[in-house]
């Protein structure tokens, strides 16, 4: 495109200052900042998980520069690992990170609806992370009541080390994070509703956008409930109320009952927390579900099978996701009739989830996919989604859950379906969109090595946890050896398998170094990317949006003419019609 003469005469824009570039309202930079935050967090979280695994099987080892790991240190690690991974990795990276980076481009918008609010949302998230990490350094250390912070443990400062100031900082961090996420979700919703370009009807929106949309709806509903719960817990801790503290609650030899004995109920916290907590799980997985559909279709050069059904199942997973929080409470004293209802709604989620799996299979059926790294990670996503999902209906039975709930079986279940599947979605997204972020390609050979190492490592780490769980290994135990009597023998029996899990976790983490090498190497020296390297059909690959495209190209109106993923084999090769292509459909030509 020829630049306009008046543009040529303009002076070259000076480089914006560093301050301007960091405190920007540009959604792409905010997206990258979110991803950097998530990458930092996931590194911390992973190191913590390694420390936990090592301590679990070699409890006598001393941590260099720290000393022996005490049981409360182990619980603090559990808490920070869970909180960081759930909130600062699995919520920020798929939803806020890639949401900011890709979403506007995918709907043909130039920016988010509220850029300033967007920046505020990011910086609040960063503040929340700093508050959380700072709790490690206060007297008593971080909170030890897990990412779910069940009272009365979390409601009483004397309940353990870390339950004083550490717990307060945890509350503050999550409250700030909840506000930040709500702002971010509102931004995403309004952007999707109001900023779609001409022709981008609801039915033509890429499934990734549907994933972000549904996750944002869930965020708007769920995070404020968490905020209310945090407020009540704060009152219990500091104002002397007893919303969650039952009568005559004995903690560390002292009877605590809140300001007024009697009506407090820890179950109330569980209801409020899991009303947020379960949608939270879907917030982290929904963008990955959408991305998988799009990537499978793209790399197997097929249309997404049953596109409308995929949209409906995305919304249905979101809707059912807010109706089944009770399945986290089967062993917490929930009314058995309520448990039955929650079991039904939980198993109902298998219907849209299976529909998604069927659509994925039908999309790739008898196609000849190109197995790029992004495609491999999408297939890995499906594999983990199915493996982790299959134990879902098992745990949805109150009677089975009663036995399994506090064992590693549940740890295996949610690490496979939520943590690993969502992380595979993130890896797929990184390999797929890296050219768009940097104008360079990531190394495919390193990518394949990373994929196979991660897949094998993930299965080797989390599959055996089902078995140790069935053998009776409980969650949150800092040590499995050195326990007397029959229970001790039972725990010790799981040790060989646990050592294998720990070694697998070490391998899994080491393989991630390949990813970091690939990332930083490709950032500087990667092969430069063609405008549309994957021959994708969605709008973010519009030539005008390429990092190296002239600025004037952006001024051109984008118009969408079709659904994504229109591919067709033709005698002369293969035809693909991007969403912005105005060409007619060759199938309906009159000839």
């Amino acid at each position: 495109m020829t630049p306009r003469p008046d543009k040529l005469s303009e002076p070259v824009a000076t480089m914006p200052s560093l301050r301007r570039r960091i405190f920007t309202t540009d959604h792409r930079i905010i997206g990258i900042e979110y991803l950097i935050l998530a990458l930092t967090s996931v590194t911390i979280g992973a190191i913590l998980s390694l420390l936990m695994r090592i301590h679990l099987v070699w409890p006598d080892r001393v941590l260099p520069f720290y000393g022996p790991i005490l049981p409360e240190d182990y619980l603090a690690m559990v808490t920070i690992h869970g909180t960081i991974m759930l909130f600062f990795v699995l919520t920020t990276a798929p939803q806020a990170g890639f949401g900011n980076l890709i979403l506007p481009a995918q709907i043909g918008a130039r920016r988010m609806a509220f850029p300033v609010a967007n920046a505020v949302s990011f910086w609040l998230t960063a503040v929340a992370l700093v508050i959380l990490l700072s709790s490690t350094f206060v007297p008593g250390g971080s909170a030890i009541s897990g990412w779910t912070a069940y009272p009365p443990f979390s409601a009483v400062a004397g309940a353990g080390p870390g339950q004083g100031l550490g717990m307060d900082l945890w509350l503050a961090s999550i409250a700030v994070f909840a506000i930040a996420s709500t702002i971010g979700a509102i931004n995403i919703l309004v952007t999707i509703i109001k900023f779609r370009c001409e022709g981008m009807t609801w039915g033509r929106m890429p499934l990734t956008v549907w994933g972000w949309f549904t996750a944002a709806l869930l965020s708007v509903i769920a995070f404020s409930v968490l905020l209310a719960a945090l407020l009540l817990l704060f009152c219990d801790r500091h104002a002397g109320t007893g919303f969650f503290v039952p009568a005559g609650d004995l903690v560390s030899g002292v009877i605590h009952s809140g300001g007024h004995p009697g009506n407090g109920s820890p179950l109330l916290w569980l209801h409020l927390f899991w009303f947020f907590g379960h949608p939270e799980v879907y917030i982290s997985i929904l963008p990955g579900l959408g991305l998988t559909s799009m990537l499978l279709a793209n790399f197997s050069r097929r249309r997404v099978f049953a596109y409308r059904t995929m949209i409906v199942t995305t919304l249905l997973i979101g809707f059912l996701g807010i109706l089944l929080w009770g399945h986290h409470m089967f062993v917490a004293g929930l009314n058995p009739f309520a448990a039955s209802a929650f079991a039904v709604s939980t198993m109902a989620i298998a219907i849209p989830a299976s529909a998604k799996v069927l659509s994925w299979l039908a999309t790739v059926w008898r196609s000849r996919p190109s197995y790029t790294t992004a495609m491999l990670f999408s297939i890995g996503f499906i594999s983990l989604f199915i493996t982790g999902g299959l134990s879902g209906p098992v745990l949805a039975q109150p009677i089975l859950d009663e036995y399994l709930h506090n064992t590693f079986f549940v740890v295996a279940h949610f690490h496979l379906i939520m943590a690993m599947a969502a992380v595979f979605g993130l890896f797929a997204a990184t390999y797929y969109w890296f050219p768009l972020m940097t104008g360079r390609m990531m190394s495919e050979s390193l990518g394949r090595l990373h994929f196979w190492g991660t897949l094998v490592g993930a299965y080797a780490t989390f599959l055996p946890m089902h078995i140790t769980g069935l053998m009776g290994e409980p969650r949150h135990y800092a040590q499995l050896s050195g326990v007397a009597n029959a229970a001790g023998q039972l725990l010790a029996g799981t040790l060989p398998l646990n050592r294998f899990i720990t070694w697998s976790a070490i391998v899994l983490s080491t393989v991630q170094l390949v990813f970091f090498v690939n990332l930083f190497h490709s950032l500087r020296k990667g092969r430069s990317a063609p405008p549309n390297p994957w021959r994708a059909t969605t709008l973010e690959w519009h030539p005008a949006l390429h990092p190296n495209a002239p600025a004037e190209a952006l001024e051109e109106a984008t118009v969408v003419y079709r659904q994504p993923c229109e591919y067709r084999p033709t005698p002369g090769g293969e035809l693909f019609l991007p969403q912005w292509s105005a060409d007619t459909n060759p199938d309906i030509k009159p000839e």
Binding site: V190, I193, R196, S224, A247, N263, A582
Partner: protein
């Protein structure tokens, strides 16, 4: 010739008309309510990106505030659910007697007056909001005849802010009256909730009053009619919602304790 039978573009762009060439820069009067956007091909094609007509920004901000208020509603819903759970929970004492400590907090009658004040403030706010969209005045402003819209809306916004402050003072008096009867935050589970609900709602109203003051300043300072309309519009939807939330919470406190 196939191209004449099947047009190249299945969805042709609308033809350009000079009078349709509206980029939201004020060339059309601000009474034009077409917004564009939403992927529905509504009067879209002729405009540069990111600026889709006079009301586009207004509708966007309004939608943002609606989602924020929906989220806020869930916050109150969570607290109200806790209210009912705590109300119906008891415990067994050492003699195996079932004890429910809940005893209803008497509602200070001044709350009825406060509620009336809040409803009144919602009405004044709605008048202010409608003044901001008065078409004749908007045309006057568009023609450059001063800021009649602002002139007419400012008193109503100011009255709303004053009424809001009166409501807050009234809530404070209600707390004082309860304190005189020795009903404090910690007295009883029901008083926990009375103070918590009125307190949290009061904080929302403090934000609201600050918002109204910011709006008043904005009405003086801002030159763009659209920005002023957005400020008043968003402030008033927030205000109405706080009124609705209060009526809901007040009914809860009066009839469901």
């Amino acid at each position: 010739m196939p191209s004449t039978i099947t047009p190249i573009r299945t969805e042709p762009k609308p033809r350009r008309h000079v009078e349709d060439h509206d980029n939201g820069s004020g060339r059309r009067p601000p009474t034009d309510k077409r917004t564009g956007g939403g992927g529905d091909n509504d009067n879209w094609g002729d405009r540069p990106r990111g600026n889709h007509g006079p009301r586009e920004r207004l509708v966007r901000y309004r939608m943002g505030i609606f989602f924020a208020l929906a989220s806020d509603m869930m916050f109150f819903v969570a607290i109200v659910s806790s209210f009912f759970v705590n109300q119906s929970t008891g415990h067994f004492d050492a003699y195996n007697n079932y004890i429910n400590e809940w005893s209803a907090t008497t509602i200070p009658p001044i709350l009825w007056l406060n509620t009336l004040v809040l409803i009144l403030s919602s009405i004044t706010m709605e008048i202010a909001r409608r003044r901001m969209f008065h078409e004749v005045d908007a045309m006057d402003e568009w023609l450059g005849l001063g800021k009649p819209i602002t002139r007419r809306a400012i008193p109503w916004v100011a009255v709303t802010a004053v009424l809001g402050t009166i409501f807050l003072v009234g809530q404070w008096i209600a707390w004082e009256q309860l304190a005189l009867q020795h009903v404090f935050f910690l007295s009883n589970p029901s008083s926990h909730f009375f103070y918590l609900i009125t307190g949290v709602h009061g904080i929302h109203l403090v934000f609201g009053v600050f918002g109204l003051i910011a709006t008043l300043i904005g009405l003086y300072v801002s030159r763009s009619l659209e920005s002023r309309q957005i400020m008043v519009d968003c402030a008033s939807w927030y205000w109405h919602s706080m009124g609705l939330f209060w009526i809901f919470l007040f009914v809860l406190l009066v009839f469901f304790q």
